[in-house]
Symmetry: C2
Subunit: 240 residues, 2 copies
């Protein structure tokens, strides 16, 4: 990369998700044009980011925070179909409509692209399209894993799987502790009812299973929203 660009790239080069986001597929000139069309947006915990019947107007990468995506039934039942962590991306490329809700589960910062500009970039930079394809394939595998959880796991297995996922995903980004180690204390940005909506359970059941895991010495809570995995091995085993 030449010095001319480096200076202008500023924010992108030091961006925390630079190594993991879609933009990782770009460098130099490409990253610069990408940056031209990027706009940062901030959301407070609880803010609606996309409503289910919106036209899709933008595509975004999560820079910080956690975004929850969900389907909502007409009678109020709700299913969370995915959590987006930093470096994950949001928005339905090549689709006219967005089929689900997206809501900030904590304070969130997004790196947004106007949809048609983003799709233009995909045409111009094959590496970016390749990256999006691979990410989408990974998302599909993850969604199918979660289908197995929803269809066939018991409440205890579901709750254990959730905390396992959280421990794994919090590691890689939240406090940048390198070698894949679990950070001691994990911050839980979802409330009990949201965990229930993610796992296909009621919040009371989630409560009881959390208690049970604590009694077994697998989890340890320092407050209602902060915990530590005490016995990673057992947690993994219980989660199936």
């Amino acid at each position: 990369m030449d010095a001319f660009n480096t200076a202008e790239l500023g924010r992108c080069l030091t961006c925390i998700i630079r190594d993991h986001g879609l933009c990782n597929a770009l460098s130099g000139e490409q990253l610069l044009s990408f940056k031209q069309i990027a706009r940062r947006r901030h959301y407070k915990s609880g803010d609606l980011i996309l409503s289910g019947d919106d036209k899709v107007t933008f595509i975004a990468g999560v820079v910080s925070g956690i975004v929850k995506m969900s389907k909502i039934f007409s009678d109020g039942r709700q299913q969370i179909i995915g959590l987006l962590f930093p470096s994950d991306s949001l928005g339905r490329t090549f689709g006219a409509h967005n089929p689900y809700f997206a809501e900030a589960a904590s304070d969130v910062e997004l790196c947004c692209f106007e949809k048609s500009s983003f799709e233009g970039m995909l045409e111009d930079f094959p590496g970016l399209k390749q990256r999006l394809l691979e990410q989408t394939l990974d998302d599909l595998d993850a969604a199918r894993d979660w289908m197995a959880l929803l269809g066939r796991k018991t409440a205890e297995e579901k709750v254990a799987s959730f905390f396992l996922l959280l421990a794994q995903r919090s590691t890689s980004t939240e406090q940048g502790c390198g070698g894949g180690l679990t950070p001691d204390i994990i911050n839980l940005s979802l409330k009990r009812s949201e965990i229930g909506d993610y796992l296909g359970l009621t919040y009371e059941t989630v409560c009881r299973q959390i208690r049970s895991l604590s009694e077994q010495g697998v989890l340890e809570w320092t407050s209602k929203r902060r915990f530590r995995v005490r016995d990673f091995e057992s947690l993994t085993e219980i989660a199936q």
Copy 2:
């Protein structure tokens, strides 16, 4: 397309999935090179197509029949994570390992490509990659819809949703009846226990719900594996 190619393309041009499969993104020369590396394979109902811990060696399009993909737990629990109908595609592009089982749910014909050749084609023909990306995004939306079903629908809603899906997918391909009409009689290629594994229910529950839908006059059975949707409106409504 020039006459030179047309002659050689034979089978591809008359292929029943020509208008819906990935190959729809190709024409002329491109389709010809695609055909060069394609091999048809036939499976009998019940045959294993991919085992969960296989290295991925090929990518395929379903030409006829239905393929079921599933996750299997170590204790035997099973979750079907997707059914593949004609024109759907099978196999994990850009992944070293295949994360699920695939089994012929009826007699099946596949149009197979050796994985690395297929990935080569994706590089050579951007239209093909675009098509794969769009298909993957659609698959992801479908998987997320199914997550909502698994997590939040009742047994009755699940079973109704299943027959609705079947009615919709059987229409477009099975007997080529044009205008989106539901064919009268639908052939059920899954047994009750497989329907259960798809919906996260036991086969006994599936049985009881089928009976209930029949008693309500929504479905009509001509044999254990052949039925007709009698009241499409009610079925849609029950399915949520």
